[in-house]
């Protein structure tokens, strides 16, 4: 972790000095902390049945324990450098991706400059 970094998720941190998103596994510079981090990642669309195998025979039954691929797709986001899956989304086909984290970077810097916000559990 860089000197003035804040771990935001299991895999993402923000370098407060540089105002950049970094990968917490390999340190890869993902992009500006003021932009969506997903824009700096690799994205892959997966048929949900690859992960959630049909436990019941799909030839016999409509419902099989697997998601319906025409209703649901898994979108996976990878670190371009180490290949870690940092996030995923389950979306109907074609649904706009979610800009899931948009932090107030100025406030964040301010808070950490004051020495607050230190984690006491996760991270």
């Amino acid at each position: 972790m860089a000197k003035h970094s804040v771990a935001i998720t299991e895999y993402l941190e923000i370098d407060l000095d540089a105002e950049r998103w970094h990968c917490r596994r390999c340190g890869h510079d993902i992009g500006s902390a003021r932009s969506p981090y997903k824009e700096g990642l690799l994205v892959y669309e997966r048929d949900p049945r690859e992960i959630h195998r049909p436990i019941l025979d799909p030839d016999k039954y409509e419902f099989t324990y697997a998601p319906d691929p025409s209703w649901c797709r898994i979108i996976e986001f990878y670190c371009p450098s180490c290949g870690t899956m940092m996030e995923n989304e389950y979306l109907p086909p074609g649904h706009p991706l979610t800009n899931d984290i948009e932090l107030d970077i100025d406030k964040l810097k301010q808070r950490h400059a004051q020495g607050e916000g230190k984690s006491d559990a996760a991270g």
């Binding site: 990642l41 690799l42 107030d104 984690s119 996760a122």
Partner: protein, 744 residues
Amino acid sequence: MGGDKEKSVIEKFLEDNVLFLGPDPEIMESHKMAPISEREEKAMAGFSNADQINLVRHKLQTACNESFDMVEQMGAAPGAKWGDLISGVWTMHGDLAMASMGGVLIFSVLTQHPVKFILKYWKDDPTVGIRPGDIFMHNDARYGNIHNTDQSLIIPVFHEGELICFTGAIVHEGENGACEPGGMPSAAESPFDEGLKMSPFKVGENYEFRRDIMTFLQNSVREPKLQLEGMKSKLFAAMRMEVRVRDAIAEYGVDAVVATLRKTLVDTEQETRRRLSTWPDGTVRTNLFADGTLRENCLIKIRCELEKRGDELIIDFRGSSPEFLNRANNTVLASLKGMLAQEFLSFVWPDLPRNQAVFAPISLRTDRRSALHCSPDAPNAQSMMTFFPSFTAVQIGVPKFLYSAGHRATDVIAGWYNMIVTFLYGGVNQYGELVGNVCADLNGMGGAARWNRDGEHSIAPIFAPMADIGEQELIEEEVPLMKIVPHKLMRDANGYGKFRGGHGYQQIATMKDSSMWGYMCCSIGSKFPSTMGIFGGYAPGCYPLCKVKGVNVFEEMKDHRDLLRFTVEEIMNEQPFKGAKYSTHHMGLQLEFAQPGELYMITQGSGGGYGDVLEREPEAVSREYLDDLISMNTVTNIYHVVLDAESGAVDVAATTAKREAERAKRKKLGKPYKEFVKGWETEHPPEGVPYYGSWKDRSLIYRGSKDDTCPADNIVAVMMRDPKDVRIEKLEAELAAARAQAKG
């Protein structure tokens, strides 16, 4: 001046000529506490020592717990026995100040509304009034509470003629005379199909129920015994608590009680704000999709934006699905707040006291007539089908604040499983009694994966800690619901991740010794997972309802024991029973009568996973494999671990290599964001998928197809077609086609 006078004359006319008192939006749309009154100011000024207040609070808290125990012991509803209730004390202005430590916490935010209704409308009404010994009841969710299977009872507490507070309890009673037994009819197509609709009303005086009213209520439900026992238990618990409040007044003075109740709310809100202010400021967004109404599958969007500024949190659900006017899955706004409060009371700050002030720093934004803020015309008996997913939308968003927050009271988690997978039942039991209710095992929801460890298997419902899935021997002693498999952990159906969600269990039910017996189910998530993982962890899969009709398993037990199987997977894939009919369905089942020995099978869901599957400890994968909780397919193709099929021994080197290869593959397959979006994103929801809610723009709401939209600020409620009509139409078309083909 004259204009004003005229206006007041008109106002008076309007006031005197109300057709009837419907739910009051002023009461129903605000979850904030009543302003501190002069009376409360005075009391707090007079009784202000924190340690003294703490002693009074402790006394009242003990009283709440005591009365909770009483309701649990005296109640006859399955819900009461597993703690689906709370008991509490409301301030003189109707805010819930203290509640039992046990029980369902959803109630903590939304029980104020009926009390406030009583205060606003009945207190000064010459035909009603509030007097010592009065008993009020209520169950209509449009006036507060969750759904009308919950019945609440409160009594006022007076001291020297002054109303000091209210005491009472709310219990999930079950049966309420709705169009289906058990109290949560998914077949309801209007509020009038939902059984008893008690707006807050007086049911007794001088601490006694009026027998005429009791008779009416007992005649309105399928379980008159339950109605009676439920009302009695709540009354005596409320009375016991009234005695305790009086004791406290006698010992510390009336101001002490008034001050303590109010100060408890003030302090709680302050603490909540203090905690919120340690979260980073910003916005977190989630999109979640409920996949049905319980009558049919369709995609119901839950759009959720969490905006945190300073010590406040705004939860914005605008752009979510419109309401369904003839489906029971709509949520009354107040119920939604109750459910969201649950996230904070159970999953973020479980150490905070149970009262409504915890939710005070949180505000909601919703579209009117959306499924999350429905009109009084829409049925809401199955509001869980939209407010549970809404809860999950918040739950999977919160970690994105909490992970870097300065204060955490417990572990950061992924999405808990969020559906009530169990059987509701109705019919005649083995003793000839008419019964209808819900099984306790809905409480076995799979726990979410955590930031540093796996989730626990079927452990607790999202709405209550320490809930019980019950014991089968006790169940089948009372109702003819035999379980061939009561709960058996289900393989390969959980949320995978670095830390995995807790597994759920499958159950296989059948019936014995009844002349009439029917089942219902009320869960979604058979096509689209209902809860999610976080930080790269996967969701659990989907869960169907499976049936085997045309079999009597008890005959098979006698004559063909070799055909018996004890997992859904084997029964459905091997189809061992000759001549039986095997089928799968979504988990919305309206009352369906069954023959003895026919099988109905459902699966309790798993919590979501946490983190990348490739980071899961290979040893943990091996243990799960040896426990038969995951198949070799999952070991190999999900976790990319190489292990010995017999001993479970991990090949470390091969695993490392396999995982490296998978990472390389990801990098090869993954596309840069912009390029991906170009190929992925569409203008409208996909053809052929009935989609409800916004797509790109939250102000434009889709109503089931890409051509049918309405603006979010003027939603047109959706009317669904009867699934039977849809099916008949489909069959008729097939028939016509077949005939045409036959003609050549």
